[in-house]
């Protein structure tokens, strides 16, 4: 591929054209290299998951295929229930975050009230604190609310996301005042204004934040492990951790089959809506 590309550059005459195509070669090879590096673990996971464990570290194109790893992984933990729990959890967190943070972000962006800056800096402070440090306090709080071992308790500490408030406030600030004023002149109420003007224009940001939030809570492990005790409340990651058998050597085939099972829905979702996600990320400026 590279050699033909170089030939092409030799054929082309103008120096500016040559530079551009050289740039292009760099970009394309770079992108491919990065994509391959990113893809390799996934390919390895697929390879080990569909072959018997004897082929974990040996590559043989004609190795026998099997789905047994998936069956074994699925039966090792109540994954069906865990799926329901995880989906409930991420939907609950995301809906609560969107409602609360949109309202808060709007207030910080467009309303005037006493103590606004102080409150906003408190919200920003939340971004600086590692959530793991708060585990003991959060547990005590959930315990005093009587919520230990509920799905609500896993989500509650994340509802008022400082990141989402900050992000939405910044987005709302970029929306032209003229639109706001025009809607007010037409007699729009404050909530109507938010719903009809601000929210539609902030959709890409919300979508981007939604992706970050869902994938984070889909993968969150230590807090759900600590606050829950029963199959009825535990998410997928806790089920997955049962395969981390460090003492006895890791069974890659089964752990990779389980990983594919648990991350599959997110991967498929992302591939289906890839274009929308990439666009909204570019607009929202989250990286």
């Amino acid at each position: 591929m590279t050699t033909t590309a170089i030939k092409q550059t030799q054929v082309s005459s103008g120096s500016s054209v040559r530079e551009i195509s050289f740039d292009r070669i760099l970009f394309v090879t770079g992108a491919w290299a990065l994509a391959l590096v990113w893809l390799l673990p996934l390919l390895y996971a697929v390879w080990t998951a569909i072959h018997p464990s004897a082929y974990e570290t040996r590559f043989d194109l004609f190795a026998p295929l099997t789905l047994e790893n998936f069956v074994e992984a699925w039966n090792a933990a109540p994954f069906a229930r865990y799926f329901v729990n995880t989906i409930l959890l991420v939907t609950m967190i995301l809906s609560a975050q969107l409602v609360l943070c949109t309202l808060a972000g709007f207030a910080f962006a467009r309303l005037e009230f006493p103590g606004k800056n102080l409150l906003f800096s408190l919200v920003l402070l939340q971004l600086m604190v590692m959530p793991d440090i708060l585990i003991v306090r959060n547990y005590a709080a959930m315990s005093s609310l009587g919520l230990v071992d509920t799905i609500l308790a896993i989500g509650l500490p994340y509802f008022a996301s400082g990141f989402a408030i900050f992000l939405l406030r910044q987005t709302f600030k970029t929306i032209p005042k003229e639109l706001d004023e025009a809607a007010r002149i037409e007699g729009c109420t404050l909530l109507g204004l938010l719903w009809r003007v601000y929210v539609p224009l902030a959709k890409p940001t919300m979508l981007a934040f939604g992706l970050v939030s869902v994938s984070h809570h889909w993968n969150n492990f230590i807090w759900p492990l600590i606050i829950t005790s029963s199959t009825e409340t535990r998410p997928l990651t806790v089920g997955l951790s049962i395969f981390a058998t460090t003492d006895s050597g890791i069974e890659w085939s089964i752990i990779n089959a389980a990983t594919l099972i648990t991350s599959g829905p997110l991967l498929i979702g992302f591939l289906l809506f890839q274009r929308q996600f990439v666009q909204s990320f570019m607009r929202a400026g989250i990286k």
Binding site: A54, R58, A76, E232
Partner: protein, 427 residues
């Protein structure tokens, strides 16, 4: 949203319901899973069987991730005013648990007779980690030691006696050289030996140090002896296996991949935990041998694994019920089932006398090696601030293996770092 609230309140209602019908005692047990197989299911089955036999006790066995996760959860729950009654935690956490005031000694709840026959009935090597200042802080449950697995077919192919595995360091190097096979382009197709150095290298390293006649720490957990000549020699030996003798793969050798590498014939000998016995025994396509770790000045290994710990903050009745459960779980019949299913070493001599265990040993004679080795076993490396001090040692071992520092320099640095951490505990 509404539905979710509903479902979680439903959960709450169900919980309340199950609590109102609760019987005399409700116990909570946190347990980690660190081996494959059905370890989690077996513990659940054990508690169910116990509840069937003891109608007045309700045990909620909660799977809590790895050892580290389980410790985090137990500390969090205890600080949050909701400690479990029992938790199976890594035996080396004993100083931390004591220091934090989370656990209590078992002694005051036991009669003199129980102390002698029950607590005293465990192998001393397994009690060593949690028997401190004359008190018993943990009851051994899922314990292990490292053993040496070897491929008898590879021994035959190299012209070695498959029934006489290397028993000292010199023989190990000699055999290792014969067992290291290179192809025409000088790439190694089979290494002589494999001692894992990722994750928790201090554990296999401690075995080497003990074999070399060294101790890594004192019993009080306040001193480390990293810079002693015998310890430095042990690390030099570890490093030389790949650097000088070229019988082990260079660089950091992964722990989790070791059983697979051994099963695939990438190495003729491998040192790893007895917890692997079931996995290796069932998947080996060659004639499998299991042996004690080779000695230098003496035989020696460190034990590993988890003990039952008794948490503070409960009334006497439930604490006593918790102790009764532990007594039942460590009784010969139950402990034999547990040991056979998981590969953990049965921690009491009377367990080995059961019919089940005798039959298992006939099938898997390798299991006996771990028991016989216990005679030479000592407490696993454990000090105050265990996680930090252990990491210092791990980093020193890694630095020496990748060649960043000499063994001597790495261990001297580690000793002064450990001193700085432990200074506080020495008054």
């Amino acid at each position: 949203m509404k539905q979710i609230l509903k479902s979680s309140s439903l959960c709450g209602a169900m919980l309340a319901l199950s609590m109102s019908t609760a019987l005399a005692v409700d116990l909570e047990l946190y347990f980690p899973v660190a081996v494959g197989g059905d370890a989690a299911n077996i513990i659940q089955e054990m508690t169910e069987q116990y509840m069937a036999e003891n109608a007045d006790v309700e045990i909620n066995a909660i799977y809590t991730g790895s050892y580290a996760d389980t410790t985090t959860r137990a500390i969090t729950a205890a600080r949050g005013g909701n400690p479990p009654h029992l938790a199976i935690l890594s035996a080396v956490d004993v100083f931390m648990l004591q220091d934090e005031g989370l656990v209590e000694a078992w002694d005051s709840y036991l009669t003199k007779d129980e102390l002698e026959t029950w607590v005293g009935g465990f192998y001393d090597a397994f009690r060593a980690n949690t028997y401190k200042v004359g008190k018993t802080w943990g009851i051994p449950f899922q314990r292990s030691t490292p053993v040496m697995y070897y491929n008898k077919d590879a021994f035959k192919a190299a012209g070695l006696d498959p029934e006489a595995p290397p028993s000292n360091w010199e023989e190990l190097i000699e055999a290792g050289k014969k067992l290291t096979v290179r192809d025409d382009s000088d790439n190694v197709t089979q290494w002589g030996v494999r001692i894992p150095s990722s994750g928790f290298p201090y554990w296999p390293f401690q075995a080497l140090a003990i074999a070399n006649g060294a101790e890594l720490m004192n019993e009080e957990g306040t001193e480390t002896y990293f810079d002693q000549p015998a310890v430095i020699e042990a690390l030099e030996f570890f490093v030389d296996l790949s650097k000088k003798h070229e019988i082990m793969a260079p660089g950091i050798v992964d722990w989790g991949a070791t059983p697979r590498a051994f099963l695939d014939g990438e190495t003729a000998m491998a040192i790893t935990t007895t917890g692997n016995l079931t996995n290796i025994r069932t998947n080996a396509t060659f004639d499998l041998g299991v042996a004690m770790l080779p000695k230098n000045k003496q035989y020696g290994v460190a034990t590993g694994g988890g003990d039952f710990f008794l948490f503070k903050g409960h009334d006497e009745e439930s604490t006593r019920a918790a102790i009764d459960f532990v007594k039942w779980a460590t009784a010969p019949e139950q402990a034999a089932t547990w040991s056979i299913a998981t590969g953990y070493v049965a921690p009491r001599p009377d367990i080995w006398e059961t019919e089940k265990m005798k039959e298992y040993v006939r099938e898997a004679p390798g299991a006996l090696v771990a028991r016989n080795q216990l005679e030479h076993a000592v407490a696993e490396f454990s000090t105050y601030e265990n996680a930090r001090v252990r990491q210092i040692l791990n980093d020193a071992i890694a630095a020496a293996i990748v060649g960043e520092k000499s063994a001597e320099q790495a261990l001297k640095d580690a000793q002064s770092e450990a001193d700085a951490v432990l200074k506080l505990y020495r008054q």
